[in-house]
Amino acid sequence: MAFTTMVGARIRRREDPRLITGRATYVDDVRQVNTCYAAFVRSPHGHAKITSIDVAAAKADPHVAGVWTGDDIHHAHNLKSSLPVAHKMGALGLKTPPHYILALDEVRFVGEAVAVVIADSPYTARDAAEKIVVEYEQLGVVVDPLKAEAGPPFVHEELGTNVAFSMPFKAGDPDAAFAAADVTIKQRIVNQRVAPVPIEPRSMVANWDTGGQQLTIYSATQIPHLLRTQLAVVLQLPENKIRVIAPEVGGGFGAKLNVYAEEALISWVAMQLGRPVKYIETRSECFQAMIHGRDQIDDIEVAATKDGTITALRLKITANLGAYHQLLTPVIPTLTLLMAHGCYRFENIEAEVVGVFTNTMSTDAYRGAGRPEATFFIERAIDMVALKLGLDPVAVRRKNFIANASFPHTTATGLTYDSGDYETTMDKALKAVDYDGLRKQQADLRKQGRFLGIGVSTYVEVCGMGPSAAMPAAGWDSATIRVEPTGSITVLTGVSPHGQGEETTFAQIVADELGVPIDNVTVVHGDTDRVQYGVGTFGSRGTAVGGSALKLAIETIQAKAVKIAAHQWEANPDDVEYKDGKIGVKGDPSKSMTTPEAGFLAFMGDNLPPGLEPGLDATRRFEPPNFVFPFGTHVCVVEVDAQTGEIKIVKYLAVDDCGRLLNPMIVEGQVHGGIAQGLSQALFEEVIYDDNGQLLTGTLMDYAIPHAEQVPHYELDHTVTGTTVNPLGIKGIGEAGTIGSTPAVANAVIDALAPFGVVHIDMPLRPEKLWLAMQPKNGSTK
């Protein structure tokens, strides 16, 4: 065990001084001489044929450097590559219609890019874009995934269907379990479409070095290397001639885990013009053309015995994919199926996952990405079973938990949960909120006509993505450590943090293990010309996978430093070891060497053991042998105003278990933000298209993300259950809050309305829906 002072401490973040003083460099802050600016013309229609585009007036504008349409790019320049979709679903016959970087002949969702204008300022670019006249012939629109599944109109006429894939699944004997059940419940649960809304919208600036024939693109991305690889394919460029830089990135939440048409197009345009080209989307464009999240209809049936034991689940997941696949679009709903068990041990499942195209923006990974949907329906199902049987929902959870003794536990859907202790975590939460006291208070208040609701959610999620064999693309990640000649230590990480704080946590690990002051450690990320290939930051993998690669690199450095020290001391290398961050000889306290000293000897190169290469650096990659499965219990207490249906959150408490905590302050921050996002899905957020495919929630005046007054104070606690999946013993925490909170809030609100006979209400839980449910005539379930 390493000597520890920094790991586990609440170290203030090393990224922060530049961020709090306004001296950080986001993409829009990148200044390059001779930059020109892009503005887009986007489709105002959900589905239409482009009959003509008149760009003459825009081209004649003296401020304009160029105008391009889909026709220009794909026909005149013959760039026909489709945008990438990463999947291993070929055996399912996944349909992958072409997705060009500018619409070609037809538009399939409101906001699809039709033409791009490049001008000498963002202002003149917008002016010129307004001069472009596009004529359309409207085609049939479908936005409802169930209608789309049933038949025409087709989003892609040539497919003759809107169904992109259908995946059946069966485990155990669900029919027998249903036949033997004491009770069953059946419910359609809509997991509504939401918008990620990072406060920094999509941003990019590309430049083509005509001398060096190299493309450099700064992009607000979570995956600089994967973006580089995909740009090489789409633009037909050698990958070693592309440099992707993710400078400061203003939030991602999965939405920047993608390869966008605009990224490819702006790169291509920069190559045509030989000038830097910048594109910063507006928030309105972001609502239209950044991926959306969720949007599943989950039809569930649950079988249970009268003691509350769940025996089987039937499930149909209808996933609204949008008009095209983005990078991971079809994969997301398959993750929902994988996690359909939650933390419960039933083994009989029959399921079908159907992905359908509609005339909407693509859905893709949004914080949780497929797992929140599973947690939501299973946690709602537990409450519905409890309601039906007159049992306490906590008792039903306890009855069905996977027992501690059965870890590692292989589920019917084929995952192996590494470790868990669900009951301890739940008990800690229940004690902290005084669950029994809350139930008494609820009963008392009901007598006064006040409606308190208590919601519990016990989640488990799959993250630390992941074993390469189970990922759509590579699942490993990388780290390089360089001990520089003058003793400072450079870490190059393949992950690409954008708020998660790994510049700090990784430096904490290095400081402890290599015995150097944290200020002498610099963590570099997000530049494909500086950092070895890495997969990126998503799926709560940054520290679990990237941090593990770092740990391996530390071990390699230590092993070499030990050899160097042993040679100096003419000691047997087997007797030399790292202790408390320093190199020493076992049993001989007089001998001590620091890592920088060993590094300096390695640099000088004149006194090294025979055969040992000079230099003290190492690059290692970590291939996760499994996912990790953090878990926890969230409890939400609400009061619903009977007159208006407005919700007040009275209490929110979360007890999470993400294994070892490297920096508790950062872990708590991730949980806070996750809770807010999940809570916000439960209460406020919904992307709404009308039947014509018009986006009705296209600005922050219509689409609510919460401000400080709309969220409560969160109380946090944790338990620590180790894992052997990675050498750090950690599980990811980036998405857990989002996954745990949505059902806790919904269960609380629906519990509050139990006296009105309410069994389920779909999100978002707008006051009007609750008010309606509380009206005498509408008191039954929906």
Binding site: M6, A9, R10, I11, R12, R13, D16, P17, L19, I20, T21, G22, R23, A24, T25, Y26, D28, D29, R31, Y123, P198, I199, E200, G250, G251, I280, T282, R283, S284, T486, G487, S488, G499, P517, D519, T594, P596, E597, F600, M665, I666, E668, G669, Q670, H672, G674, I675, A676, Q677, T699, L700, I705, P706, H707, A708, E709, V711, H713, Y714, G737
Partner: protein, 191 residues
Amino acid sequence: MQIDLTVNGKRTSLDVEPRLLLAHALRDSLNLTGTHIGCDTSSCGACTVLLDGVSVKSCTVFAVQASGHEVTTIEGIGTADSLHPMQEAFWTAHGLQCGYCTTGMIVSAVDLLQRNADPSDDEIRAGLEGNLCRCTGYENIVKAVRAAGKAMRDHTERHSVNDLMPMHPPAEEPPPSGEGIIPPFLQEAHT
């Protein structure tokens, strides 16, 4: 047209189009890129600056309207070497993650304490309703503003906020090492 404004205490003249938004003037004409833009409906508050000492959304002010007036941006609030107590408090309380909303949030929080030196948590939340953050869930932002308020009330000098933040006793952070960038053994080797 010609405009004259005082930005972070410095008088400056610019030749601008009337339609140029103050946010763009600050960012693009004056290279003060700490003022961020996060929306197009005056909703998010990332672009918040002080105009004649009070918080405004610089995306909803034309630069020409600011002519003859004083603007303070995040760059004028404090620097890494001389942090404003509010900046120090955001750092210590982990009141930020991606940092994009942070600069506007800090400027708004500074304005909030001008109006109310000792706000309750509810007043802090209400006072920040013009600023959206998607990362933090606001919990640590509220903590930061509370701590900064206490620091500013109790102490006139800066750099005192760390002593006052109950959620982050300084003892938990290991003291900075006395070592410089170049380790002593190397300095010796060179002398």
